[in-house]
């Protein structure tokens, strides 16, 4: 990624504003990294694949690629992209560069749903969707709506109330998750733990095909609104006096970011740090313009998570490390770096 970073255009004197050329110069490298990772990742694994094997129908090589690795990689790309974009949205909405997709409680909400499903013994797949994911998504939606209506009751959608409502629900749902954990048997408990670590160990294409329309729609909406996200990120009065409908913009961003997070988390469990590391890295090299951050984070986030997941499934092969452990191990030190940065530094 280092090579791509140096190829980003720096601001030159007398050149400002976002032109199509500058947009491509900034988002293009993200797309290239994404494409490269998606091409290479399927070839990496404990069994080497040969081109001849992959091309011949019915071969083991082809089955491994098409039925095991590709669904997982495509899903990983989608989860990473969705979480990174959600991170960008929550950071802009809360004007807090430390906000993540899970700051407002969605991870606890979907964990609660998943934990209840496991506790009820609903470890079944219905129409290609695991019941656990259905419950997890319901838990996420419940959280999203609760936080929204608690925050909205005081008129508008005040950032501080939003944060407070989210953090509070996070604690409440976290406690309920602990309760169900405590009330379940050893097998269930271990399943719950695995789910909450976050992993991309899915079966088949259906998790991907169910989430891809939601994610692409939400990302497209937010790319269209990205000029207005710049206004919100600069300040609410700033946005309002420049003609933005602040309340509507905040509401739309909140729901888009939440749905992005909830939809992918329902299948993958909460995977941390993608939503923090990716937007920050991109902001460091390409600046805080959301017209670049939203699409760029989608591609970089996808690439980052697929890379982490490739490491997760190969490092201790044949055992798998939960991908959340890898992202946290990379993300943790990054987070500390962020906290220790000198005031006035670019990001």
């Amino acid at each position: 990624m280092a090579a791509a970073i140096t190829s980003f255009p720096r601001h030159r004197t007398g050149e400002s504003g976002l032109s199509p050329r500058r947009f491509i110069a900034a988002v293009g490298p993200c797309v290239l990294i994404f494409a490269a990772v998606l091409l290479i990742a399927p070839l990496v694994g404990d069994k080497g694949l040969s081109l001849r094997g992959v091309l011949s129908a019915g071969s083991t090589d082809r089955d491994i690629l098409m039925l095991v690795r590709l669904p997982r990689i495509l899903f990983g790309a989608l989860v990473g992209g969705a979480l990174a974009v959600a991170g960008v949205l929550f950071q802009a909405l809360l004007r807090n560069s430390l906000a993540t997709p899970f700051t407002l409680g969605i991870s606890s909400g979907s964990s609660l749903g998943a934990v209840i499903a496991i506790w009820l013994g609903l470890d079944i797949v219905f129409l290609g969707i695991p019941m656990i994911s259905v419950f997890a998504f319901a838990g996420a939606l419940l959280t999203i709506l609760l936080v929204f209506f608690i925050a909205r009751s005081s008129g508008g959608l005040p950032t501080f109330t939003l944060l407070l409502a989210g953090v509070t629900l996070n604690f409440v749902f976290g406690a309920l998750v602990l309760f169900f954990h405590y009330a379940s048997n050893f097998g269930q408990s271990s399943m719950m733990t695995t789910w909450m670590m976050g992993n991309l160990n899915i079966v088949g294409y259906s998790p991907w095909s169910r989430t891809v329309p939601i994610v692409l729609l939400a990302v497209a909406v937010m790319i269209a609104l990205s000029p207005k996200l710049n206004l919100i990120a600069a300040g609410e009065d700033w946005a309002s006096t420049r003609g933005a409908n602040v309340h509507r913009l905040k509401t739309v961003s909140y729901f888009m970011g939440s749905v992005l997070t909830g939809a992918v988390t329902a299948f993958s469990g909460p995977i941390g740090f993608v939503g923090l590391v990716v937007p920050h890295s991109l902001r460091m090299v390409a600046g805080p313009d959301h017209r670049i951050l939203v699409p760029g984070s989608f591609f970089l986030g996808g690439a980052f998570l697929v890379m982490c997941d490739t490491a997760a499934r190969t490092l201790l092969s044949p055992t798998e490390i939960p991908v959340g452990v890898i992202t946290a191990l990379l993300g943790g030190p990054f987070f500390i770096m962020l906290l220790k940065r000198k005031p006035g530094e670019l990001w």
Binding site: H11, S16, G17, P227, S240, R242, A244, P288, D289
Partner: protein, 272 residues
């Protein structure tokens, strides 16, 4: 204080831009504005003076469309403010707050270009027209050389000029300033208001500026409106408002009034 007839010789320059009738506003049962009526004309340079908590900034925010839950009527070019879409208002009215705090490291030119937002159609890119307006705004505010610097690294004076440039990129008819120089040193206060004065004189931009600083107000404004306790107590040219009697009524401070040697209004010096 109640017996004395207030000054009322509003030195309105042109046709009214704002017409305000019995404007009232309060924060949860604490009244802030207690029935204000006034008219602000095209090309006016108004200084709103008064003590802390008098309601000056609240009044300005209502004019800017930032506060919409008032009672009474505020008309902009004859249309009730509540019926004007915020985007349409932002094409005519720009607002500069006391201080602007940025979390993200937007560059000066990115912030100035955000002033183009009310004029931009749907789409991601800045057009050459946007760039021309931004360039002109930065030239007027002497901020061209700051274009590529992150706002977070600028000094207070530079920041205010960049925010002013962003407001000017809106191509406004009216410029609302909320104590824009309160955190600036003397040199930067004068630099800022010199720019504002040029906009008023050369571009007939209507200026409404809230300030505590009566001397600064008197030096630049051609009309002074004094607010105390949610109501106007004086409205007229700076000389007629800046008498020891009025200033005592407004600020509860005894002052001496001195003529400026260059004839540009008066100085006041607190004596109590």
């Amino acid at each position: 204080m109640v017996n004395r007839q207030p000054v009322y010789n509003p030195t309105m320059t042109g046709a009214p831009v704002y017409r305000i009738e019995d404007l009232r506003f309060g924060y949860s049962h604490t009244p802030v504005l207690k029935g204000i009526s006034a008219a602000i004309g095209l090309g006016d340079f108004v200084a709103l003076v008064g003590p802390n908590g008098a309601g000056k900034s609240t009044f300005l925010k209502i004019l800017a469309g930032l506060i919409r839950r008032y009672t009474g009527s505020v008309e902009f070019h004859g249309v009730p403010l509540g019926k004007i879409h915020s985007r349409d208002l932002a094409r005519r009215v720009a607002f500069v707050p006391q201080e602007t705090h940025m979390v993200f490291p937007f560059t000066a030119s990115q912030l100035v270009l955000m002033g183009r937002a009310p004029h931009q159609a749907a789409g991601l890119f800045d057009t050459s027209v946007d760039l021309e307006h931004a360039d002109e705004a930065m030239r007027l505010t002497d901020t061209l050389e700051l274009a590529n610097k992150p706002f977070t690294q600028l000094s207070g004076g530079e920041r205010q000029r960049v925010v002013l440039a962003s407001a000017l990129a809106q191509d406004p008819q009216v410029l609302l300033l909320d104590e824009p120089t309160v955190y600036l040193d003397l040199k930067h206060q004068i630099h800022f208001y010199d720019i504002v004065e040029r906009l008023n004189v050369e571009k007939q931009m209507t200026i409404v500026s809230v300030t505590h600083d009566v001397n600064l107000a008197a030096r630049y404004a051609r009309r002074m409106m004094a607010v105390r306790d949610g109501a106007f107590v004086a409205d007229g040219n700076p000389e007629s408002v800046m008498t020891p009697e009025h200033l005592y009524e407004i600020f509860e401070v005894d002052v001496a009034v001195l003529k400026r040697p260059d004839g540009r209004g008066n100085y006041i010096i607190p004596t109590s």
